[in-house]
């Protein structure tokens, strides 16, 4: 049996932040509330979840930048708390964003500094940096100061830094956020190339389509709990029997929504506002329920538009994250 690349048991993390004049108001945030996870070597695993779900918190704990409050986590067979220094040279972390770089020096100098901190052999350092800059598409901009970089170029530099020491496992926290579609596509292509080189990848994202395109398995994190872990095909199965109806109109009342919810076969009712218009999305599990029946449940709405559309993975994701986790 091959050991898991990542193995997480009952992991929790609580943040206490202090506010107020004398720092005496303590707010406790339970960012992770008992996470269990198993990731195989060579896998590209996607952690999907809305803002504040705890994705970054989990990525930081697994990459030794944050201690868990309870529970345990092993990465590449090493304990993330006890074996942190040894683990650090074998994993890479890309948090991305505008921060985390020395602006006043060049991209190449940033990489040199981190190459030294990672102990990359002196003789290989320059060639590896050049190669990495080329690979992420910063070949021409390596000697430019980072303050002159665009958002996407900074993201590429983050990626280059995370990979410089040839980690066996890479944590990517929202690698395409803020990138234009072309750069995002290039990044995804790059991630796939790394995977084919045998790097295990733990990726967090907001975007269902990104997870669907890249990941072999996906966990959906919601309010600090994993509400589903499955392959993309497995999640599709969840979608399988389901139908989705969309109803557009104005001024629906609570009683009307309750009536929809009570219809046989309706498992879920979601409302969204589009300016003055309201869209009701129904998840329907019965093949019998007809659009007409739905329309008849809402009399007195001449403007009503009712249609059926294909249920997307995105819908399942939204269902999962909007339900209150137990």
């Amino acid at each position: 049996m091959v050991d898991a690349a990542i193995s997480v048991r009952q992991l929790t993390r609580v943040y206490s932040s202090r506010k107020g004049f004398l720092f005496n108001e303590v707010t406790r945030t339970e960012a992770l509330r008992g996470v269990d996870l198993e990731i195989a070597p060579g896998e590209l695993f996607g952690l999907l979840g809305p803002n504040g779900a705890g994705k970054t918190t989990l990525a930081k704990i697994l990459s030794t930048l944050l201690l868990p409050s309870s529970g345990s986590a092993r990465v590449l067979g090493l304990d993330v708390v006890r074996d942190a220094p040894r683990l650090r040279s074998r994993i890479g972390l890309v948090l991305g964003g505008e921060r985390g770089l020395y602006y006043r020096v060049s991209g190449r100098e940033n990489l040199r500094y981190f190459a030294d901190l990672y102990g990359i052999p002196r003789a290989e350092r320059e060639s590896r940096i050049t190669e990495m800059l080329e690979r992420v598409g910063l070949g021409a901009a390596g000697d430019q100061r980072v303050e002159e970089y665009s958002r996407g170029m900074k993201q590429k530099l983050h990626l280059a830094r995370g990979l410089l020491h040839q980690p066996e496992l890479l944590f990517l926290d929202e690698p395409t956020i803020g990138l234009d579609p072309k750069s995002a596509r290039e990044t995804r292509k790059f991630v796939r190339a790394l995977l084919s080189e045998g790097v295990t990848i733990f990726l967090t994202t907001h975007y269902m389509f990104e997870a669907e395109e890249l990941c072999q398995r996906i966990a959906v994190l919601s309010k600090g709990k994993i509400v589903a872990t499955d392959s993309v095909a497995g999640l599709r199965q969840l979608v399988g029997g389901d139908r989705t109806f969309e109803i557009d109109g104005y001024g629906f009342e609570d009683a009307e929504l309750a009536r929809l919810k009570a219809l046989a076969g309706v498992s879920r009712v979601v409302t969204e506002e589009f300016g003055p218009r309201l869209r009701i999305t129904l998840r329907v599990q019965s093949p019998e329920l007809e659009l007409d029946r739905v329309a008849r449940a809402l009399p007195g709405h001449p403007e009503l538009e009712v249609r059926e559309r294909r249920t997307a993975l995105e819908d399942i994701y939204l269902d999962l994250v909007e339900e209150e986790p137990a």
């Binding site: 201690l67 650090r88 921060r99 770089l101 500094y113």
Partner: protein
């Protein structure tokens, strides 16, 4: 399995290199490191020039020390605080090398620029003062000057950990800075201060080293009763305590920040 063994020397040199590059990219420290001490030096010179060469020398030493302290401790602490502000503290701590070596590199760069500041003060004032300064052992003077700097660096190394610990470090350090000028005797001889400051001052290696420097350079100087040799032993002894403590201080601070999760705060 490929193993990367980070070397402390590599990390130290990388930090020296980056500090120099950042210093050159933003030479704002030229002002506190050279111009401010010269102004302090002249102010002290104006006050003491009628009181004889010895006091002028004393004043120069005070101004030089302020420059060195500011550079070594405040400068290195500030640079560490910058890591928080830039968000580079997280990626740096995620490497296998202890942050101690990064700070150490920074301290050395700052100490050297501080030394330059101190020498600038000395050069300017001795040029301006019409009488030769009563420096009876110039070689010892320079060596002891460098020694004071090393003792300062040992304190700086430990105190910079505060900047890793919390984003409020600047606030704490600004308070500490003036207290430090006074209790180590950078501004007034420690023996002139109220009796209770001495025990505190003796916890700081630069107090001893400065007293030794004064013994060596000021004719007829009467500092601590144990004299020059006692000063040197005291300085080395307290400094070793600081250096020995640094490793565990950084380990604890790192555990603290990983527990609290405040690395990205600034």
């Amino acid at each position: 399995m490929r193993k990367v063994e980070p070397s402390r020397l590599r990390a130290f040199l990388a930090s020296v290199r980056l500090s120099l590059l950042l210093f050159l990219a933003d030479p704002q420290w030229v002002i506190p490191a050279t111009i401010a001490p010269v102004i302090f030096g002249f102010a002290a010179f104006e006050l003491y020039q009628g009181s004889g060469a010895t006091l002028v020398l004393y004043a120069i030493l005070g101004a030089g020390m302020m420059s060195m302290w500011g550079q070594t401790l405040y400068g290195a602490g500030w640079a560490t605080g910058q890591d928080r502000e830039l968000g580079t503290l997280e990626p740096t701590l995620s490497t296998p090398t202890s942050y101690l070596w990064v700070v150490f590199g920074r301290i050395v760069v700052n100490a050297v620029t501080g030394l330059v500041g101190g020498l600038v003060v000395f050069a300017v004032v001795s040029f301006a003062y019409p009488h030769p300064l009563p420096l009876h052992a110039p070689v010892e003077f320079v060596l002891l000057f460098a020694f004071v700097l090393v003792t300062l660096a040992s304190v700086g190394l430990v105190l910079s950990a505060v900047y890793v610990y919390t984003r409020y470090a600047g606030f704490i350090n600004n308070f500490g800075e003036f207290g430090f000028y006074i209790i180590t005797g950078s501004m007034f001889p420690v023996v002139l201060l109220p009796f209770w400051t001495s025990p505190i001052a003796l916890l700081l290696p630069p107090t001893w080293a400065l007293d030794a420097l004064r013994y060596a350079s000021l004719p007829g100087y009467a500092g601590f009763g144990w004299g020059f040799t006692g000063d040197i032993l005291g300085a080395v002894g307290t400094m070793l305590v600081y250096l020995a403590a640094a490793g565990s201080v950084y380990h604890r601070v790192e555990q603290h920040v990983l527990t609290v999760g405040n690395l990205q705060e600034y």
